[in-house]
Symmetry: C2
Amino acid sequence: MVVVASLRLPSLTSLFSASSRSSHRAPAALFRRRHSCRRQPFLAAAKFSAQSAASSPPETTEELAVNQKKSSKTNQDRVITPRSQDFNAWYLDVIANAELADYGPVRGTMVIRPYGYAIWEAIQDYLNVKFKETGHSNMYFPQFIPYSFIEKEASHVEGFSPELAVVTIGGGKELEEKLVVRPTSETIVNHMFTQWIHSYRDLPLLINQWANVTRWEMRTKPFVRTLEFLWQEGHTAHATPEEAEEEAMKMIDVYTKFAYEEAAIPVVVGRKSREETFAGAVRTYTIEAMMGDRKALQAGTSHNLGQNFSRAFDTQFMDENGQRQHIWQTSWAVSTRFVGGIIMTHGDDAGLMLPPKLAPVQVVIVPIWKKDDEKVGVLNAASSVKEVLHSAGVKVKLDDSDTRTPGWKFNFWEMKGVPIRIEIGPRDVASGSVVISRRDVPGKQGKVFGISMEPSTLVGYVKDKLDEIQASLLAKATSFRDSNIVDVSSYDELKEAISQGKWARGPWSASDEDEARVKEETGATIRCFPFEQPAGTKTCLMTGQPAEEIAIFAKSY
Amino acid sequence: MVVVASLRLPSLTSLFSASSRSSHRAPAALFRRRHSCRRQPFLAAAKFSAQSAASSPPETTEELAVNQKKSSKTNQDRVITPRSQDFNAWYLDVIANAELADYGPVRGTMVIRPYGYAIWEAIQDYLNVKFKETGHSNMYFPQFIPYSFIEKEASHVEGFSPELAVVTIGGGKELEEKLVVRPTSETIVNHMFTQWIHSYRDLPLLINQWANVTRWEMRTKPFVRTLEFLWQEGHTAHATPEEAEEEAMKMIDVYTKFAYEEAAIPVVVGRKSREETFAGAVRTYTIEAMMGDRKALQAGTSHNLGQNFSRAFDTQFMDENGQRQHIWQTSWAVSTRFVGGIIMTHGDDAGLMLPPKLAPVQVVIVPIWKKDDEKVGVLNAASSVKEVLHSAGVKVKLDDSDTRTPGWKFNFWEMKGVPIRIEIGPRDVASGSVVISRRDVPGKQGKVFGISMEPSTLVGYVKDKLDEIQASLLAKATSFRDSNIVDVSSYDELKEAISQGKWARGPWSASDEDEARVKEETGATIRCFPFEQPAGTKTCLMTGQPAEEIAIFAKSY
């Protein structure tokens, strides 16, 4: 297998640049430059428009062309910035090169490309089943919400009004009442619940919708924060506060299991501080994930809304005693942001690393031949291996193009984060075996020779390996997380931990003002009061007063 | 089984009105009244707003209450207007009573309720697989499109500009360039294609997105025409006009098969006239369905876009000879309108009638007992029948509530269009058998006694019956369609056929002006030039000149 080893030599750079084919040479600089522009908050609306259609498209095209020309001629740049060198640049390079997403023509919008969308589809497939198993039905609410609805719940309007996109013209006419493009649907949901819910027999009402939402964000970042994004939003109505609380907890638990078991992300689950609670909620539960740069990503939230919206919209029901009561509600959401979380949790210098359970391609087969008379035998063997795996339910791709070298393909599919690569050369065909490489274990250590092509052996081996990789990604992320959470007992220790880029965990019973001061002085916020709490008495790290709970502070996306 | 027979006596009216439970007494008058308002085109934008949040919700709530009060007290109205009496009122009553949809707070918007959404999910599940089998990948484009994009393709802007919803405010600031909420995505797709496509090796590019779209329609009707609707839109790019044509034909074929095999709707497939071609397309293919009132519903379209958009957006590729060429494109779509087509094709006076392949509930089990000591045995048997069918992949529901009589349940689930009802009473339990009723065959003729509960017998019987019902709905709709298409050879005959409410089919080679005159004088338009054409020479029904093709004229939604 010397052939194979030597074929692994070309670096990503030379591979990307030596080629004459353009479709895989995505514009790495594209995301980077634009994003760095957006690091300064925009000063005026005029600035947004200047960045939208009128000016951007030519720039984009030009830059793309420049970038391609440069890489194909000079052969100098690494296309993917090393992660350790510039995490943000790495992130944007991975998204561009792996063709996960691209910028839309309007500032802050994102086009989700097929490979990125396939990850979202895998997320949807899992959650959709779980939502139905827990009794929820899908439905669809209109995205246009009368402006007056948003104003009905006091903290809701305060939270969302700065971020609204507003339709003022319809069918060529100025509208009398402006319409908000939904930033979230609590208000319109309550408007409808008020018509549908009359008696305790109508409760609980458990629904979910898969939809797009719009928030006019100042600083955007692909997947993590975009002007428009895709999500699911669950909305439920209950007869008692206990049932609403139970529902909110049940759904954050669904999200937690999803994060651990499917995305291999060891989230910390807990309750948000008052300051960080959803605009309109009584309590917000959250799953917080540690990214590769140790910043926290809020990856999913579940809100106990209490009666805040039902009072604002007068959503009442007749209880079993014939008394009218306001309903108790929850809402909960996970969005395309989760895709960003997956990239930033598992990726490395070579690019994306996808957990097998969510990978659009779990196994890529790279056939290897030098002489023409070897080609047919190798491709036949590769096709039959593909068929065997496909029939066994493995998501498998055979890269049989002959315009690329095997070495190029190795690097390309590593960059795309495919968990397992199968190599098949003439000697493998002769011996009836294949070579299997793990994406998560670089070099020779991750490579096993002589795995039999015999279907039951191969399928068993591949499936075991996929499970192993899934578990290994979780273990690695967990160990990374645990080694980067510091227990602190004073504000000085907290500041020290944050300045080292870590998460600080310590007892907290101080005021909202103190919380704001921490944010002001360190850039960190309370990510959550984790459900997992140490026993014993605790002393607030800030005030020295008794504290009921520990909180986790971190910088976040 | 005398008990069962007598239980079928109560009419829908008395059943709905006698009850004290409100959730199933949907406001039948709600859709009706509002719709009749909308029959007059709106005169000014002010009118829209007057119908939106500010005024509608109180009316809605009040009317709902009035309707409920009336029906529960006076017991006079039939809740569902007979189809033969007023097709439109029947349609709106079915949607309200079967809880398929409800009005949103903004004029012309619709909330798709779980039962209606489940039909859409079944449509999605089928088409999504077919799209992937034919090589298409899902992705997602932003819904905000710079206004300038819409203006680039001349006929596109002419077609869509009157229907646009426009965002002018974002993040509290007036935008410099207005943003259109997508009415369709050809423009933004081409903007991105221009960045992604460089060489013939990048072609074909075959993508699809599931999304919401907005068209500011004047006259709306739930499912059929709403301000916002859900759809899929396929967009493809090709290196040759032949490939684009082949793709457009392939996808209209996917839609045709879907209509026949899943929805049991015998659509007529054909080409649109120039007048009715999509704004920006070279050719539009369509599937046209005949509704129960014999009006035509355009149920899906596939467009050969030629180079219209690629020229407008300068989307070029380098061909195999090193020449730059504009790409050749298609787009194709099916929307939530299809749900309206299913309702209006198969429904009858009793309500909805769903084709088994798309029914959210294929079998409902109604347990029947009179004495308390019978209850446990009946419910146990019903549960085990449910389990048996569920395990066999049948979508089954057990209605074991004890607040409703069996007769009420029979009518309710008939109204919801469930294809098969299984009744289980004490005598059935004793004999180990069940009673099975078909939704599509009313009364005793559709009822079979003594079907064994033995799992393999029961499952086999039910599955056969579902297939039979599926085929029977298609046969019935086909015979209805065929008996309502009249071959005409003169304009007088055409007018006569249209005035009888039928479709007129005849040779046509007249001008666009003549086509406009037919519309003006009869209200009918050319629905399509059907693919299925008679042999032999033909003479244009209007001009007496030779004609290449026959066309089908009909009034339409």
